[in-house]
Symmetry: C2
Subunit: 433 residues, 2 copies
C-alpha cells in the first residue's frame, strides 16, 4: 500500500490507508488512546481502543517514527473532521530518550536560546517549521516574478580576493596560504553580470562580520538580490521591486496557504504604487513631529523608521514605504548621485512595517566616474581591477536592490527576533547547531 | 517609445522600434555600414548608409552601449531575416579603450586563463553566456521537479563550527576570534531537515579546500542537493534523481531552446530506468576488459569511469549509468551499509558520459548506529551534538544525493575544463575576478 499524506485523508474516507510520521502526541483516556501523528504536511488523529495496542504504544516516546495503517473515518468532533480507526503500527525508529521540549503545545515553552540550541528538535514544531515554508514560498515568488521579467538567475562566488566592497566587517579566511574574504553581498558580481544578461538575480548567503548582537542582525543571512540595466534611474528598480513583492505575497498565498492559518498571519497588501518620501522630507517630518532635530543626520535611526512606518500606515494605509535620496556621504562607492542634487543619492530603502527591508538604488556606470570616486575615497583600484573592467568596456545605466529573506519573514509574522526566522542562525556567540 | 528585445523584431516588421545593447560588431563596406547590436537575448543587424552617421559610428569602439531607433525591414539575406534601416543612435557609454579580445568571432580566440582573467568582458560572448543560461535553466528544472514531489527548499548555513563532516580539506576562517569552517556540503543540515519536512532540497555554494588543480575540480562550486525520508533504500533516491534529471533537460528545452543552437548541443535522453551496475561487478568487467586487476580497489579511477560510460552507451544506448554498492571503507561516516553485504554500502554514483556527476545513497538513521560508527572511526561526537540530536529524537530511514552544477553543464556541452562553465571559478591559483 502506498503511503499518503495526512492532508490527503479527507479524500479516502471509508478506505484503509498507510500514513507515516512522528508520534506528535499521545493522550490516554479511560479506555481509549488518541495518538496524533505528524507528517511533513500536517497532523492526523488516530484512535486506539484495543488494549494490547495501547500497551504497545505506551512504550513509545514522543517523536517515535511510525508507519500506521488504518481505516479513515469521518468524525465531526475530530480535528479536521477525520480520524483513523483500527490502526496497526510499525515502529521505524524509537528516540533514545523522551524529547526535553514538548512539541505538541500550540507554542514551544522555552526561551529562544534554548529553542535555537535544540533546533534539530524544535524546528519540527508546526509553528516553527511553518516559518520556513514562508521562506521557501517567498524565494519561489521572488524567482517567478523576475523570471517573468526576463531576469537570469546567477550564482556568484562567495570567496573573494579583496575586502574592497566596503572594507569593513568582512570575514577573513586562509586560502592556501593567502588571505581571502567572504562576500558581504553579490554586489560587484551582479553588476558585472548586467553587462552579460542585463537583468540578473541571485538567491544566496551573504556574510557580515558585524561584531554586535541585535535582534535584527545576523552574521550570515540569505539575500534576494536583483540588478538590472538600461534604467533611467532608481525609480525603475522600485517599480520592479513592487512587482516582486506582490508576486512573493501571491506565491505565499497559493503555495503556503496552509501555514498561514498555523502562523495566524494576515498577509499585507502591496499598493500598486508604494508611497515614497524623500529622505530630507522624512527628516523634516520627524523633526517637526518628535521635536528632535534630526536634519543633517546621514541616516535614519531604527526609531525613526518605526515612526515613518506608522505614518505611512496612517496616511496611506500602507505597510510599505519607500524613502529615497539618502545622502551620498554614507552610501557605498558605487552609488549614483542625484544629478540635480549631487549630495543626495539615487538610492532608496524600503521600510516594511517600520523596518528597513530592502536597500537599493542606481549605480555608477561610467569608468571615469569609478576612477574618480575611488580616488576621492582613497580606495585602491587595483584590487577591483576585474570589476572595473566591466565599466572600462561599456556598461549601461543600471541599478538593483537586495531583500533580506529572514527579515522579510520576521516582519510578516511579527517575530521579535530575526533568529526565529533563520534556519540555523549565526551570531557573535552562536555557531551551532 | 518602449524598448524591445532583438528577438521581438520579427513581430514589428514595418514599424519603427527602439533597441538597446552593445556594439557587437561594425563592418564597413564601400558606401554602407553594418552594425550588429547585442542585447541580453540576441543580435540585431542595423544598416547605415547615411555618410554622417557612418562618420559618427566610426568613433565608437566595440562594446559601446547604444540605444538605436530604426525601421524594422524584412530582408531574407540578413541574419534572422530582419534588418534595421534608417537608424538613429544615442550613445549611453563609450568604452575607455577598445576591448582586447574580439567578441564578434564565433568562438573567442584566447586561452582559457586569459578568458577567465577577463571574465567581465568574455562572459558577454554569445557562446560563453549561453553556458550560464544552461545553468540557470538547470537550476529551475531541479527546483520544479522537486517542488512537484513535495520537497521544500531550504538554505542552510555555510559557516559551521566544526570540520567534522570529513575532517579534511576544509577552509578555516576567523570567526570573532574563534576558528570556524566553510561547509563542504549541506549534508548534515539537510539530514536534520528531513526530520522537519521529510523532503528538502538546496541550491547553494559548497567549499572544498582541495589543494590540487585538475580540469574537473573547483574549490567553490554550486551543489544541487536533495534529501528525502521514509525510503526503503537508496533505489528510491535514484528513482527521484532520474525524474529530476528528466525535468532538468525538459526545462532546458523549454526555457533555453535558443541557446542550444548557439552552443550546438544535442541534449541527452534520460532512460526511463537508468542502467545500474554493482561496484564489484563493474570492477570484474573492468579487470576482464582491460587486463588490469582492479578488484579490491575502494573506488573507481577516472579512466575506469570513462570505460564504464562507453560500456553503458554501447550496451544500453545510455549516456547515464548508475554504479551502486561502493565499499564502506571509503564512504563518509553517515553512509548506510548494505544489510546483506555490510562491507558494501547502500550508496551510488551516477556517471554521465563517463564522469561522476552525482554521489548519493542511504544514510544511517538510528542514533546508536551513529554512536557506534563515530567510535569505530575515532571521531569525536561532541562537535556533532546538534546533528546527533536529530537522531536521538527519531529519524526515519532516509537518503539523498548532490549534483555538481558546473560539472553537469560542462558534460552537457563537452567542455574540456569545468572552469569554462563556472561563472567566476576559484582554484588553487585563481581568486579573481
Amino acid at each position: 500500500m502506498d503511503r499518503i499524506w495526512s492532508t490527503e485523508l479527507v479524500q479516502h474516507v471509508g478506505e484503509r490507508v498507510r500514513l507515516a510520521g512522528w508520534l506528535h502526541r499521545l493522550r490516554k483516556l479511560s479506555s481509549v488512546c488518541f495518538l496524533v501523528l505528524r507528517d511533513s504536511k500536517g497532523l492526523a488523529q488516530i484512535v486506539i481502543d484495543d488494549p494490547d495496542s495501547i500497551i504497545q504504544l505506551e512504550q513509545f516516546y514522543h517523536e517515535s517514527v511510525l508507519i500506521v495503517e488504518g481505516l479513515v473515518v469521518a468524525e465531526p468532533q475530530a480535528p479536521g473532521g477525520i480520524e483513523i480507526h483500527h490502526p496497526v503500527f510499525e515502529l521505524l525508529a524509537q528516540p533514545s530518550e523522551p524529547p526535553p521540549i514538548d512539541l505538541f503545545r500550540p507554542r514551544l515553552k522555552a526561551h529562544l536560546p534554548t529553542i535555537l540550541d535544540h533546533a534539530s528538535l524544535t524546528l519540527r514544531h508546526p509553528y516553527h517549521r511553518a516559518l520556513f515554508r514562508l521562506a521557501s514560498a517567498s524565494m519561489a515568488g521572488f524567482r517567478a516574478a523576475l523570471g517573468a521579467l526576463g531576469f537570469v538567475e546567477i550564482q556568484t562566488p562567495k570567496i573573494i580576493s579583496s575586502a574592497s566592497e566596503s572594507g569593513a566587517n568582512v570575514f577573513a579566511l586562509d586560502y592556501f596560504g593567502r588571505t581571502a574574504y567572504l562576500a558581504q553581498s553579490p554586489q560587484l558580481y551582479k553588476q558585472i553580470m548586467v553587462g552579460v544578461f542585463e537583468r540578473v538575480f541571485e538567491v544566496g548567503p551573504v556574510f557580515r562580520a558585524e561584531p554586535h548582537a541585535t535582534t535584527r542582525h545576523l552574521n550570515e543571512y540569505v539575500s534576494l538580490d536583483l540588478e538590472m540595466g538600461f534604467i533611467r534611474d532608481h525609480h525603475e528598480v522600485m517599480a520592479v521591486l513592487t512587482q516582486v513583492l506582490t508576486t512573493m505575497i501571491n506565491t505565499i498565498q497559493t503555495e503556503a496557504a496552509d501555514v498561514l492559518a498555523v502562523l495566524n498571519v494576515a498577509l499585507p497588501q502591496v499598493p500598486e504604487k508604494i508611497p515614497c518620501v524623500f529622505f530630507s522630507d522624512a527628516q523634516d517630518m520627524l523633526s517637526k513631529a518628535t521635536g528632535e532635530d534630526v536634519r543633517g543626520e546621514p541616516d535614519l535611526a531604527p526609531a525613526h523608521e518605526i515612526w515613518l512606518g506608522q505614518w505611512a500606515l496612517r496616511e496611506y494605509g500602507s505597510d510599505f514605504l519607500f524613502v529615497e535620496g539618502y545622502p551620498m556621504s554614507k552610501r557605498p562607492f558605487y552609488t549614483h548621485p542625484n544629478p540635480s542634487r549631487p549630495t543626495y543619492s539615487n538610492s532608496f530603502d524600503l521600510l516594511f512595517r517600520g523596518l528597513e527591508l530592502v536597500t537599493g538604488g542606481q549605480r555608477l556606470h561610467l569608468y571615469d566616474d569609478y576612477l574618480a570616486v575611488l580616488a576621492a575615497k582613497r580606495m585602491e583600484s587595483e584590487p577591483l581591477a576585474g570589476y572595473l573592467e566591466a565599466f572600462k568596456y561599456g556598461m549601461p545605466p543600471h541599478g538593483g536592490c537586495a531583500i533580506g529573506l529572514e527579515r522579510w519573514v520576521a516582519q510578516l509574522v511579527g517575530a521579535q527576533n530575526v533568529r526565529e526566522t533563520t534556519l540555523f542562525p549565526r551570531d557573535l556567540h552562536r555557531l551551532t547547531p
